[in-house]
Amino acid sequence: MTSAVVYKVRHVRRHQYFSWAESQLKWQGKAWPTRRHTPYTKTPKSRRLHGKSSKLERTPVLPAGDTHSLKQLTSKTWHVYQVTPLNNFQHSAAALRKYSRHLSAALQAESHKGIGVDLESEIGDRAIFSIYKGLATSPDDPEAVELTIKAKGRSRVSARIICNAILCSVGSEHRDELAERLTMLPVLLVKGTAAVTRYVISWLQAQFDCHIRKMTFNPMALVWMVSMWAGISTGDKSKTVELLYTLPKAVEGLSRITLTIDATDAKTLWDSVHDEESVDFTADEVTAFIKALEAHFFHHFKIHLAALTLSRIGTPIVYIGSEGRLKILSEKAIHAVLQHITELVRDNFCRAS
């Protein structure tokens, strides 16, 4: 009697979760049921594509003559860090002046400590916090903040910039309410020497009670990005789509394989994979795109790229390395790229909490 009932219940449950899982995720044409208790969250089934008719809430308004300021983001290699919400951060001019003063004082004190000991690790003596306009796209985004650190060389009269950092949040939708005093600027781009970067990060952590960690992109994230952006051509013939695979250590004599595809070819493949009407790029499309490339490569070289580790990608608009290095090539793509990174960081936070 009992066993009959039990059987029925199990039967119903299976049926329910299979149909549910089917709607939840598809992987290689197969739907898996999901476990309830795992520390992992899954990547969304599709991601927004910036471009044609993106869900960009408002186009950033740039004051006239300020267009060059966004340009300084491009064609430079940035290190990407993820930042937890900043406590007690204010955007007012007075507050920014105060932060500049504090950090300058801290830097001067620090550099006096190391005088004559370590000449290489110069950490500068003047910090300037300023609002970086034109990055925030959604009404929920706080304005981006730029931090410049200048150093007066021993012999030189004019100060030179030794570190540049930008704290930003692009196109984030507030899924959960933040407390009053917290400011969400989850992406930190840094360009500077190791010593000054380390010092500035530790200062920010102490000052705003946040945690800053190097952002890494796993092969899954890289595959997503290369598939999403491979089809966005900038019209420049010299820009190619590039995938850099590293080989396991056991393989001797060969450390990496670079697969370079002409931008126009990549665009043709991308168009055949991606549904033109859709503003989203789905997981299935990602799989199809990357499978096609791997099949092509295997046809010519008899190497299974799927068995290797993807460690860097290049598209006409951006270069991204797994260890958190970023180089944006096109000014138009800045928002798309930073929005995607903002989303990834927020996913990471959900994972951790």
């Binding site: 219940v9 449950r13 995720l25 898996w32 796993n218």
Partner: protein, 179 residues
Amino acid sequence: MAFTSHSKLPELNTATILLVGMQGIGKHRLAGALLELNTSYSLQVRTATHLPLPAENSESRPRIDFVVFLLDANNNMSISKTVASAKELDVSYFLGRACFVVLNATSESLHCTDMSNITGLCDAHDSPMLCGSLQDENQRKCLARKLLCQTEVSSGFKHAVSPMLIQATKHTYEFMEPL
């Protein structure tokens, strides 16, 4: 003809494990660790890169008591191959005679797929998932011991405990919210 868990008679005082995993994943290292363990019966380890096993030599092959699927979370190909191989295994093995071993589950910065895909794979086959590493000897030994524990049950060396019993006690037969 695919092999099943009951198509052959067991040999006396012998347990046979089949390790299935792509080339270079470390099947032989794990096999070495398994064989180093002291057992009161003779332990055989067989390896295969994928299922189904070839038809030739199928006569001389001993009965397989336990099947271990090795997959690497950092390697897309090993995952897709495991998915394909698991489909080929006879369903009688998924009643407590098979398990999945996930390598590199902790190095999330190198993951090629969502962990939910891997846990989903194990759940769909209703088989246990072990996470482990083959890098250093202690971890190998630890993993080998866990596998041996399950093998002993499935080959009948644990008195009065059958794989079906383990399988049956895995679930709490209660009303649960749908997954």
